[in-house]
Symmetry: C2
Subunit: 403 residues, 2 copies
């Protein structure tokens, strides 16, 4: 498997487009994106666990009832959530895009991101769709840019892999930043592949993968109402279709995991206001569930996140977070080290502090990517969680998000 | 019942003291506190639910096995947690204080607050105890000051009430600020009363009360390792002792609740970096547990907390937080209003936005105390939770806490 240039248009038969239509006040920021497959694709999705679900999710779920789709339309600037007419507007977005693409409304999926509880006006979207469709091309960047909200960087990746000797590709894009604390799925992630695989197996792969990827990142502990991850698999690579588990499915899972882990890290690193990516790796837990609970507890601790911002090796906050995380661990066996490109510093062994150089720790924690390594000495369970530091800018961004 | 001047020394027979002994580097900040009762008192406590428990809690729990105590010693600047010799140091603090007060070691309770995982040197404490004991007086302020860490204000209250026609008093002090997200108990709270009540009933009253008070506040979602609430009841008011439930116990519960709610509000308002007290009141839930879960979810949302800092009526974040809180609610029936001394603004009805004046909302949210009023229209359950806004200063305080 190789990482290659590009994003969702890297697999055969996919095009994308992104325009400014006017959902956002800004006159330049793109706010409407389209991903289109020449052939109808096997499709799967996972959605937020929030009880309050954005209208686009409800419509997407309905359109995915047959496991097939051919296009995804997405706007940023307004989440179309908690609006009485939300489902009707989301459905109309699909109808208009479908008409312009000459495909059935039911083959269009829809997503929205932005402020909750403000009516989404269909007019600018309706006016923007002709240009959006006309702009379809093999360049995925305008679409990746159009789904951004407070993101500071586009998040795109593509990989190449082989199924039965046939080269296949997979590409993905994501929108992250704030309100990132997924439980079932996450923010907006669109993945495309030309690999032939039936929709049941795409759904199985995706549902299995997110447990260790998108469900293991947290920027701020807030689970959004609009989180969604979708995969479109159009089969145009021409491999013998994957219809069950086995070596081919394993390769597909591996490709998917490469794409999703990369997107997870990108989303965490670009968390609102973040200056650092935090990766917490727990090993030696009595089981995987325990490792996950502990890793997520650490990555979610506001106190630890603020300490990481300050490059302060305040490891007591790591122990504290494990202690309240709900993970069943023997606190007297916990070991903690901080690591980065600048080195590794052991700070805690058997649940108590060890002498370490504050100067060295400061150097390790001043890097852009920090590893928090936790060993529990109770078994074979392990897990990784991703997050970011808590900074002044997080507060600034969220103190006047709507202004 | 009346609120009166003073704190833990308002009830008969209690004295307190606070000195600088040198646990903290600062040469002036008091860091060692003592509360002493002339008579041995019925005593009760609740402790943090964190699996990592501070050594002082373990020792206090042991000393409370007989339900009696006569003094509490507490240092700030070091939590004495995650230290191999922690229990021995905590026990030695009790022994030294007991010796100086001529009471058994087992009648002294101990608490510590501050950084985790740095050895607590007994030497400055041992050197400070004679002056601490000599300084005992009816002024509770030096003790209330000595337990502060990043608190910006002392938190003390006293009330007067009658049991069977006999005037009784109750006083309390608290240390709050950061790492505030109690589950079973909370930060450090010391409550004294001269009311005669046996230790089983004190424990019952306290355990019942914290569920709706200290368990319902959150500053930052981090549950400390050292949270503890204790009550000493020395019986010196001379009322007929409370030994079971009934009208007298109800009056005692009411007095306790007045003290604890006041301390909760003070702790939340003085959360690290906070500029505003947030009080979230949920009514119409199908039961009390649902109301509590929803109220706590809202008060814990970083996004909402940041919006409140910016006086931004971003009510979608309230719905979002209810949605992921785990509370079983019908999202299409949720109503939300923001209120303060400046007025009330309805922002959401039946789960969807209503038109409101942004200008008026800004005025309401610019006050120091904000009420978030949520109605669920599903039953009679209600609950209140307290929190604070998320500000630049929270990040600043926690970015270099140890420096």
């Amino acid at each position: 498997m190789n990482i290659i240039q590009g994003g969702v248009c890297a697999p055969k038969g996919f095009q994308a487009s992104g325009v400014h239509c006017g959902v956002r006040k800004s006159r330049t920021k793109r706010d409407l994106a389209l991903i289109y497959s020449e052939r109808k694709a096997a499709a799967a999705a996972v959605y937020t666990s929030n009880l309050v679900k954005g209208a686009p999710l409800l419509v997407t779920k309905k359109h995915l009832a047959d496991g097939m789709a051919q296009a995804i339309i997405c706007n940023s600037g307004n989440a179309n959530t908690c609006n009485a007419d939300g489902p009707a507007v989301a459905e109309e977005m699909c109808r208009l895009a479908g008409a312009a693409l000459s495909i059935p409304t039911e083959d269009v999926l829809v997503a929205s991101t932005g402020v909750i509880g403000q009516r989404l006006d269909i007019a600018p979207i309706a006016a923007g769709i002709p240009g959006l469709v006309a702009g379809l091309s093999l360049d995925s960047s305008p679409a990746a840019e159009a789904i951004m909200t407070t993101d500071t960087a586009m998040k795109q990746i593509a990989v190449e892999f082989e199924i039965g000797g046939v080269p296949c590709r997979m590409g993905g894009m994501a929108k992250g930043s704030g309100m990132i604390h997924p439980n079932l799925a996450t923010m907006l992630v669109f993945i495309t592949t030309d690999c032939a695989i039936d929709s049941a197996m795409v759904q199985k792969a995706l549902s299995r993968d997110v447990k260790g990827t998108f469900n293991m990142i947290s920027v701020d502990g807030d689970t959004s109402t609009n989180d969604m991850v979708t995969v479109l698999a159009n089969g145009m690579a021409g491999n013998s279709p994957i219809t069950g588990e086995g070596p081919d499915f394993d390769v597909f899972m591996q490709a998917l995991n490469t794409v999703t882990v990369w997107l997870c890290r990108s989303i965490a690193a670009d968390g609102e206001g973040a200056t650092k990516l935090l990766e917490c790796r727990v090993t030696g837990a009595k089981d995987e569930a325990t490792a996950k609970t502990a890793a997520k507890g650490v990555i979610c601790s506001s106190l630890l996140k603020a300490a990481m911002f300050g490059a302060d090796a305040n490891w007591g906050r790591v122990l504290c977070a494990i202690g309240y995380s709900g993970a069943d661990v023997d606190v007297n066996q916990i070991g903690v080290s901080f690591a980065s490109r600048a080195g590794t510093v052991e700070v805690c062994r058997d649940g108590a502090g060890v002498d370490f150089s504050e100067e060295e720790a400061k150097k390790v924690l001043s890097e852009k990517e920090i590893n928090i390594l936790i060993t529990l000495h109770e078994g074979e369970g392990s897990a990784t969680a991703w997050g970011c530091d808590l900074t002044y800018d997080y507060v600034k961004i969220n103190g006047d998000y709507r202004s």
